[in-house]
Every structure is written in structure tokens, then in C-alpha cells.
Amino acid sequence: MAEPLLELRNLRKAYGALVVTDNVSLSVTPGELHAVIGPNGAGKTTLIHQISGMLPSDTGSILFGGEDITSLPMPQRVRRGLARSFQITSILPGFSALENVALAVQARSGSSFRLFGKAAQEKNLNDPAMECLSQVGLAARAHVPAGLLSHGEKRQLELAIGLATEPKLLLLDEPLAGTGHEESLRVVETLRRLKGRLTIVLIEHDMEAVFALADRVSVLVYGRVLATDTPGRIRENPDVRAAYLGEEELV
């Protein structure tokens, strides 16, 4: 197996007596789509926060491309190619969709301490941004204020912003959360196209989507990794079935 792009070693996070991330070790190989599933409250979002740098970890370490990034703040992790989306949509509502993405392009191209020149009219920012919007199917809505987009479109925009940072690895925190059937199909389609070009860690509740997309699946229960395996074998795993019993049906 190739050297992992992302490796978690004995990661832990506790709030008082409540252990949210309990000794999690996980490795993500380059190019794979690695899904993390688990019942509500399993600590999936906390894990994403820790990997992305929004939350510090108590103990353990995070390696990205062989480099220890455990103590780096979020912006520096992003610059190393570790981007994320948010479960609860996090965009700039007053900016147009294009500007939301163009800002992400701006973050990695040249200095942002330029006090002159209209940023909104810079072609070398807008063109790559438009390209990212096209990839998620939002190009026609580029000039709409992001706050006026439909919920599903906002989810697509999140994806486009993440892509615009040119990540090596994209952490997606429930990209389908709250989307309708049509919209979710479109996001799944976009993910399928990105798959292989990018390494993706996907947290998702929609099992149909997970099993259709994932190369490997890790099951997180009460902050622990119960199993990591191919989708087929995860489905057959008796421990996983037990953990999900009465929660939701594994397809």
C-alpha cells in the first residue's frame, strides 16, 4: 500500500469525562474516498474539526503527507492542501457565489495585502473560480449573492470553495445534509467526478451515497473506530450491524 496521505495516530479529545474521540487511529491513502459513518453522537464532526485544526487534540498526532501537523492552526493546514467543508453551511452570504470562490483562489495566489486594484475584476482570480463553480454545476448562478442561493446550491458552493483551495485532501462534513432528493443526486454526481483526482474523507449519513461512493469505510461509534474496511465487508460486519441496530437500516 502507498504511504498514507493522512494518518491519525491515537487521537483523543475529551470534554471533562466525556470522551468524544477515543484513541482514533486511521490512515487515508492517496486517491481514495474514505467514508466515516456512525450513529448520531459518534463524534464524526469533532473528528473533522480536529483534523482540520478547528479544535485542538488532547493527545495523539495527525500526519499529513508524512509531516506532523498536530499543532498547526487551520489556515496553515489549508495552505498545505487540507481543505474542509462544514456540516452547517458556512459561506459569505453577502458576497456573490463567484466572489466566495474567488476569495479561496485569492488565498493561495499572490499577496492579499494589495491595497489597490479591484479584486472583483481580477481575471486570474475569477477564471479559476468560475472553473470550480462549473465543476459543481453552479456556473449559471455565479453572480447571485450566496445568501440567496437555495440550500442545495449552498452545499454545492461549499464544495466549490473547498475545491478552489486546490486541496490534496478534501474533508467533507455531511455534504448532503438537508438537501432534497434532486439536489443530493447532483452532489453525489459531483463527488463521483472528483473521486480519483482528489483524496476525500467523507462524513455522511446517507448510506446509499456512502456505499455508492466510498472505497473504504470506517465506522465510528462512541468516539472509537469499530472497523475500517471495504463497503461490502463493512455491510456484512456483525459488530457494525449491532451498532446500527435500531438506528438505521444499512442498505
Binding site: P75, F86, L103, R114, G117, K118, A119
Partner: protein, 343 residues
């Protein structure tokens, strides 16, 4: 693809491309005012009042740059007015009376003070940021009151207005008026450029959603600090002009009430439009000046005694009036001007 993609062709980006009528009108009015002042007969009075309006316009606009575009509520901005004023005053008292020295010194002092206090204040958020900027402002205020060599509590009178390259051109109220208008126009154009630039876009983004900005790789602190320094320097420039306008400097330049007034001017004019802050400063100062007379005239149906009392205690009307504007005219005066156009 699906129908969502093909729906209505998106409107072209309107920001910045449409000609804005309000700032043009505003600066035309400032440019025409000296003429009217000559006609009015009380030109000294009108000129000095409008000069003050423009100077506070610069300060309020500087505050709007961080308050309206960065959501940083600095409650100590009057400190920079004081720094600018005292730079002029102290240098003049040592015989250095040329603006070409005084203004750079004032700007450097403002920048340094902003850099140091900003680097500390910006580590806090919300109410704590307000309180810590207030504390730094007060610190400077008490420092000024204890400068016995420079007048202490009473302040000091300037021997004369600053020279410019050895010439006493500022002596004329007209010339000084034009210089202030030039400064206002210059800082306005500069601020507009900054707001639309790459830097300004990061600042605005941080105002709207700091977490998102970090998640695409920006460190908001650096941008906020730079904006704070720029804003401080612009306010310092206003302080230089204010000292020259009054030919006097005192700790009263930097009381916390003055900082509060600056915030009020920005909110009154409308946050985040720059020229709104200038309009806010104008509305605030002109109301302060003319409200007693307006009240006296408007209460013609009351007895003379009541009218005098009303005019005397105009502040009792001024306060509630400001509160009403903030309550009912969201977006301040600019909000009122904008509303009809957007239906």
C-alpha cells in the same frame, strides 16, 4: 442538467460599476460651500463650521473602515485625534512648525500606537475588544492631562497654524478649507480603493464569517491589524487638521465621549459606505450647532419662557433624536437614501 442550472440569466455584478450619485453630490456641496459662505456674510463662521465637519468626516470615515468593513468596534478612536493634535502642538512648541514635518510625525505616532494597541486588542473579540480599546484611549487621555509642560489639563494654544514648506498658506481660512477638502477627498478615494482591493475583500470576508476565511487559508488577525493601523493613521491626520483648525490642543480631543461621538457619526450616517460616515459627521455636527435655534423656531406656539428653556436644554432633544434615527432608520441616513431606489 436540471432546471436550476438554466434558470434566469444571473444579473451582472452591480457593485462598483454603477455611478454613485451621493458622494458626487456630497463633494460638490463641499466645493460650492465657500461661495455660499461669502454670500452669506458670516463667512468666517460658516467656513470654520464646515471645516470641522470635513475634519470629523475624515475621522468618522477612518472609523467606518474598520467598523463598517471589519466589524471592529473601536471605542478609543479619539486617541488618534489626540495623537495627531499633540504631534502638531508639541512640535510647534519646540519651534518645529512645518506641516511637512508635523504630519509625517503624527502619522508615524498614530501608526505605532495602532500597531501596539491593535496587536493586543485584536486578540480579544466583541465586548472585550470595545473595552480594551476604550482602556487604551483613556490611557492616552490621562497621559495628556499629566503633560504639565504642554498645558496639562488645560491644553495649549498653538503659536500659529502650521507652515507648509516654510509658507504660512494655512493662515487663510479659505486655503485651509480647501486643504481640508483635499484631505477628505484624498482619504475617501484611498479608502474606496482599499475596500475594493484584495485586502479589502479579505477584511469584508472576515467581518461576515471569520471561520470561513480561516478555512480557506487566511489568518484574519494580520488583515484586521493592518486595517486598524490604516484607520489610526487617517484619524491621526484628522487630528493634525483639527489642531490647526482650532489653533489649540487639549486632552478634550481624546475623551471617551469623543470616541463615542465618532461611533455615533458612523452609525448615524450608515455603516459600511464611507461617504455615509461623512454625512453622519455632518448631520451630527450641524444638528449640534443648530438644534437650539431649530427648537426655538419650531416651538413658536409656546410661551417665550418655555421656548428659551427648550433651546437651552437642546441636548434633551438631541439624545432621543439620535436614538430614534438608530431605531427607525436602519442603515442610518444612507439607508434612507438608498431605500427608494430598491423599492
Amino acid at each position: 442538467m436540471t432546471e436550476l442550472v438554466q434558470t434566469e440569466p444571473s444579473p451582472a455584478p452591480s457593485l462598483g460599476t454603477r455611478v454613485e450619485i451621493v458622494p458626487i453630490f456630497l463633494f460638490a456641496a463641499f466645493a460650492a460651500a465657500p461661495l455660499l459662505a461669502t454670500v452669506s456674510g458670516a463667512e468666517g463662521y460658516v467656513l470654520s463650521l464646515l471645516t470641522r465637519v470635513m475634519i470629523f468626516g475624515i475621522a468618522a470615515m477612518a472609523l467606518d473602515l474598520i467598523l463598517g468593513y471589519g466589524a471592529l468596534v473601536s471605542f478609543g478612536h479619539a486617541a488618534f485625534l489626540g495623537l495627531g493634535g499633540y504631534a502638531v502642538g508639541i512640535l510647534a512648541s519646540h519651534g518645529i512648525d512645518d506641516a511637512l514635518v508635523q504630519v509625517p510625525v503624527a502619522l508615524a505616532a498614530s501608526a505605532l500606537f495602532a500597531l501596539v494597541t491593535g496587536a493586543i486588542s485584536l486578540r480579544t473579540k466583541g465586548v472585550y475588544f470595545i473595552m480594551i480599546t476604550l482602556a487604551f484611549g483613556q490611557m492616552l487621555y490621562f497621559l495628556a492631562t499629566s503633560l504639565a509642560a504642554y498645558g496639562g489639563d488645560d491644553g495649549m494654544t498653538l503659536p500659529s497654524r502650521s507652515l507648509v514648506a516654510g509658507f504660512s498658506v494655512l493662515k487663510s481660512d479659505f486655503t485651509f478649507y480647501w486643504i481640508c477638502l483635499l484631505c477628505l477627498l484624498g482619504t475617501y478615494a484611498f479608502s474606496r480603493a482599499v475596500v475594493a482591493s484584495r485586502f479589502g475583500r479579505v477584511l469584508r470576508g472576515t467581518r461576515d464569517n471569520a471561520t470561513r476565511m480561516e478555512a480557506i487559508g487566511f489568518r484574519p488577525f494580520r488583515f484586521q491589524l493592518t486595517a486598524y493601523v490604516i484607520s489610526g493613521m487617517m484619524t491621526g491626520l484628522a487630528g493634525c487638521l483639527l489642531a490647526n483648525q482650532a489653533e489649540f490642543v487639549s486632552p478634550a480631543f481624546m475623551t471617551w465621549q469623543r470616541s463615542g461621538e465618532l461611533i455615533f457619526m458612523v452609525v448615524l450616517g450608515g455603516l459600511g459606505s464611507l461617504h455615509g460616515a461623512i454625512i453622519g459627521a455632518a448631520a451630527f455636527l450641524l444638528l449640534e450647532e443648530f438644534l437650539p435655534e431649530i427648537l426655538h423656531a419650531a416651538s413658536f406656539f409656546l410661551s417665550d419662557e418655555v421656548r428659551d428653556h427648550l433651546a437651552e436644554n437642546w441636548k434633551m432633544v438631541f439624545g432621543p433624536l439620535l436614538i430614534l434615527v438608530v431605531l427607525f432608520a436602519r442603515g442610518g441616513i444612507m439607508g434612507l437614501l438608498r431605500r427608494p431606489r430598491h423599492g
